[in-house]
């Protein structure tokens, strides 16, 4: 990809044989390459070598039997996965919660970062930032208990709504399937908004202050500056993060749904990870669990590449 631009810049390169230039480059950058070897090794050992365990998905794997001595079953595990009655429901829930998380997560973090960036009082800014990112460090087990208590009949949510006369009777929030996705979304925003804002704030400090000065001289107000300088300034970061999150769209979460689900909302709460836990790992069906893992990875890779291509075509910053 980069060869083309190089040719444009340096027409002489055309006459040099590509292999020679490659070796020349290697020689030039040998120190850099040597430095990257440990990391490449790390990735190979921990990310690529374990992939041979994928063989399990095509076997009837039994614990304790050496990998290659298991009975081979072809694509049976995948067939079983796609034919399962709950599979479509589980995918629907996963995608719905993921998209809700994605949209609200991005909007809330960017908004918070923009607001914080406009603050003049450093003290106040720091306090708000600290308070807003603290929930990130609370484990979901604790958070789920807090949320369940907040949403119970005597909880603060019902208390406020009833006293404001917005509702007549306390509502059992966790018993209504139609609310569950939004509860997950809201709790994710609560937990992630401050943490997510940090990276955007960092990106905003990289914007050249002279741009703001020039805009002020031209008579731009606060909102103009936000829309014409700050947002375009952090756009590359937003796009990169978006591409990366799209790759994770099938990871809608595990603990939060596991901990917050109630018998009344199981149809909305079960994500693909919970399904795999229940029907794969808990029943010692490791092959089945691996098959669904492969399925998830494939979808993720496809979505990631697609999002990246899309960004490329739109002329935006991209991952690779």
């Amino acid at each position: 990809m980069d060869a083309a631009s190089e040719l444009k810049a340096n027409p002489k390169a055309r006459s040099v044989k590509p292999t020679r230039s490659l070796w020349k480059k290697v020689k030039q950058q040998k120190a850099l390459m040597a430095m990257s070897i440990p990391f490449v090794l790390f990735v190979i050992v921990f990310s690529y070598v374990p992939l041979w365990g994928w063989l399990m998905a095509f076997q009837d794997f039994k614990l304790g039997t050496p990998m290659l001595q298991n009975h081979w079953v072809g694509l049976d595990n995948f067939r079983e996965l796609f034919r399962d009655d709950s599979f479509l429901r589980v995918i629907r829930n996963t995608l719905a919660m993921s998209i809700i998380n994605l949209v609200f997560g991005f909007l809330s973090s960017i908004t918070l970062a923009l607001l914080l960036n406009e603050l003049r009082s450093i003290m106040f800014k720091r306090i708000v930032q600290t308070i807003s990112y603290l929930p990130h460090f609370i484990s979901w087990v604790v958070a789920a208990n807090l949320i369940m208590n907040m949403l119970s009949i005597e909880g603060i949510v019902n208390y406020i709504l009833v006293n404001l006369h917005l509702i007549q009777e306390p509502i059992l929030w966790l018993s209504k399937g139609e609310y569950f996705w939004w509860i997950i979304g809201a709790s994710n925003v609560w937990k992630g908004v401050g943490w997510g804002a940090i990276i955007y704030l960092a990106a905003m400090t990289m914007i050249d202050p002279s741009l703001y000065e020039a805009a002020s001289i031209d008579g731009a107000g606060r909102f103009r500056k936000i829309f014409h300088i700050t947002l375009p300034g952090i756009r590359p970061i937003i796009v990169i993060l978006l591409i990366m999150s799209i790759g994770h769209i099938l990871d809608a979460g595990f603990e939060q749904q596991y901990l917050l689900q109630t018998p009344m909302v199981v149809d909305q709460a079960e994500t693909i990870d919970l399904f795999v836990l229940k029907y794969g790992i808990n029943l010692s069906r490791y092959s089945f669990a691996t098959a669904s893992g492969i399925f998830k990875t494939l979808i993720s890779v496809i979505l990631l590449v697609a999002a990246n291509q899309f960004a490329k075509r739109m002329g935006q910053e991209r991952l690779f």
Binding site: S86, N145, T262, P263, I281, N282, L283
Partner: protein, 549 residues
């Protein structure tokens, strides 16, 4: 200059590393090397023992552990489960990294992974005490390949009993106020709860909850197993077994059992008798509600709300604690609540293939299974931890009971692990119980004034007396311990999912028409599953056990 300095640094680091490592290894070998610790033992040895249930970290020295170590010369390094059980098993098996001994309820998984050694020859040759206790159950202990791999705790001997676990529970105060009526049916139970609730709509300033239901995660018994007890079955779950002809009937879709129960709960809910939050709260919230003293009754297994009982006791709300009742749909049905004394096979203590000295391990376990070892493990040291009356009965003084009821003392006393070994359940030749908590003296000492009043009101000695004795014809018991094929396990999980989804809908139905619709949907969904092959699998299992056990 520079090189010299690096060399010095290297040397110092190396020295440090060796000291640290040396310290570690000398630490490890220390316990087994104390000389006078082995007066009458064969040899000094050390074993690692993994217990596949969570619990407090075992202190290095406990009173009982140290005494046993002195008597046998064997040191046991206990380790308890932290985190998810299935995951731990998976990691252990995948890595082949087994401790010397394992206590687990998933013996089959370890057997499949060829992680355990057969015990029968070792027992025959080296363990006369174990042979004596487990001999009567020899064939039942055998795994499907004919070998014995694990020894469960509590081999039943004379007078073996199992306490009350699953039951309908009712607040003591409610019984007292109603004047200790005889309650034998579910309808009467509901009436008594209703009367109290109408008279006392609030307890300690909070709304009274006449009947509570827990459905969180897998803790779903109220909605899935209570009806089999009402219909006169034991704790089998999903199917009723007729011990006369070994026939099974699937009760989950039975209109006279399951529908009848849900319909009654539905009525109770619409009357306001069932907690509105029943289906949205988690286990902690459930325990908090029970501990507040405003719950009048529920169906549950005792071990599940033990913490709530302890909390009520601590708050001094003794009359808000719960007592068990044996209920059925009507008086023509005989209740069968008490578990038949028996063991859960394919669970328990086992020796792994990594154990270098299986003979030493079984000899140690054999000592613990001797009467001396068992008294030591269950009762402690005579005169210190328990007393013996003039006519030979074991008991504990007020002070001793108080000391051991403190969780911290108990941990330092036994480490809460010394009973994870082969043991007996029942009475010794002299009539005392092996397990101290089964000794009538200990049980009676635990009753407070309210208990005594209630028991007097019903004219019985213990709560167990209010229940029918277990049906000894049920040799197969319990049904749920029959190992299923993968297909059967998936069926179980699918049915669990349906049992989670539909029953709450039925209980919450606003009208009878809604209820009927949910019931029809439920039955239709259950029938989509392969009930028949699941039943066939279990029927074969029951027949096999009835014939061979």
């Amino acid at each position: 200059m520079f090189k010299k300095r690096t060399l010095t640094k290297l040397a110092v680091t190396a020295l440090l590393v060796t000291t640290v490592l040396g310290a570690c290894s000398s630490n490890e070998s220390q316990p087994s090397s104390s000389p006078e610790a082995t007066p009458n033992s064969v040899k000094t040895a050390s074993f690692s023992y993994f217990i596949m249930t969570p619990g407090d970290n075992v202190p290095e020295h406990t009173k009982l552990g140290d005494i046993i170590q002195q008597k046998t010369g064997v040191t046991i390094k206990y380790e308890r489960l932290v985190g998810e059980k299935d995951q731990k098993i998976g990691v252990m098996v995948a890595g082949g990294d087994y401790p010397d001994m394992i206590f687990t309820d998933a013996t089959t998984k370890f057997v499949d992974a060829k992680a355990l050694i057969p015990l029968e020859d070792l027992i025959e040759e080296h363990a006369p005490n174990i042979k004596k206790l487990y001999g009567p159950y020899w064939n039942r202990l055998k795994s499907s390949d004919g070998h014995i791999y694990s020894l469960p705790m509590g081999a039943p001997v004379t007078n073996a009993t199992k306490g009350i676990s699953a039951a309908f529970w009712i607040q003591k105060e409610v019984l007292k106020e109603a004047g200790y009526p005889k309650i034998t049916t579910f309808d009467q139970y509901a009436d008594v709860l209703r009367d109290y609730w109408k008279k006392h709509p609030q307890i300690d300033g909070a709304d009274t909850i006449p009947f509570e239901i827990l459905t969180y995660d897998t803790r779903n018994f109220t909605l899935t197993t209570a009806m089999q007890f009402l219909a006169g079955g034991p704790n089998d779950s999903r199917a009723m077994v007729d011990p006369e002809n070994n026939g099974l009937t699937f009760y989950q879709t039975d209109e006279n059992i399951t529908k009848r129960y849900y319909s009654k709960l539905n009525d109770m809910y619409n009357e306001g008798m069932i907690d509105k939050e029943a289906f949205v709260m988690n286990y902690e919230q459930y325990l908090a509600k029970l501990s507040s003293g405003r719950v009048l009754g529920m169906f549950d297994q005792k071990w599940q709300f033990q913490t709530a009982l302890a909390s009520l006791k601590q708050q001094g709300k003794n009359s808000r604690m719960f007592v068990p009742l044996q209920l059925t749909f009507d008086d023509s049905i005989k209740g069968d609540y008490l578990d038949l004394p028996g063991m859960n096979y394919n669970t328990g203590w086992s020796i792994s293939v990594n154990c270098k000295d299986p003979v030493g391990a079984i000899e140690y376990a054999d000592y613990l299974a001797s009467d001396e070892g068992q008294i030591l493990r269950n009762w402690g040291v005579k005169g210190e931890d328990f007393m013996v009356s003039d006519n030979g009965r074991f008991y504990r003084t007020e002070e001793q009971r108080k000391y051991l009821s403190d969780a911290k003392n108990a941990l330092n006393w036994s480490g809460n692990v010394v009973w994870f070994w082969p043991s007996a359940s029942g009475t010794m030749p002299d009539g005392n119980h092996y397990e101290s908590y089964r000794q009538p003296e200990i049980i009676a000492a635990d009753y407070d004034e309210v208990d005594k009043e209630i028991l007097k009101g019903y004219g019985v000695q213990t709560y167990e007396d209010m229940f029918n004795p277990p049906n000894t014809k049920r040799k197969y018991f319990p049904l749920w311990s029959i190992e299923l094929s993968d297909k059967g396990k998936i069926f179980n999980q699918k049915l669990d999912d349906l049992n989670k989804k539909y029953p709450p809908q039925m209980v919450l139905s606003k009208t009878k028409a809604d209820f009927e619709k949910s019931w029809k949907d439920y039955v239709a969904d259950v029938n989509k599953l392969d009930v028949n092959s699941w039943m066939e699998e279990l029927t074969a299992g029951v027949k096999d056990r009835q014939a061979n056990w």
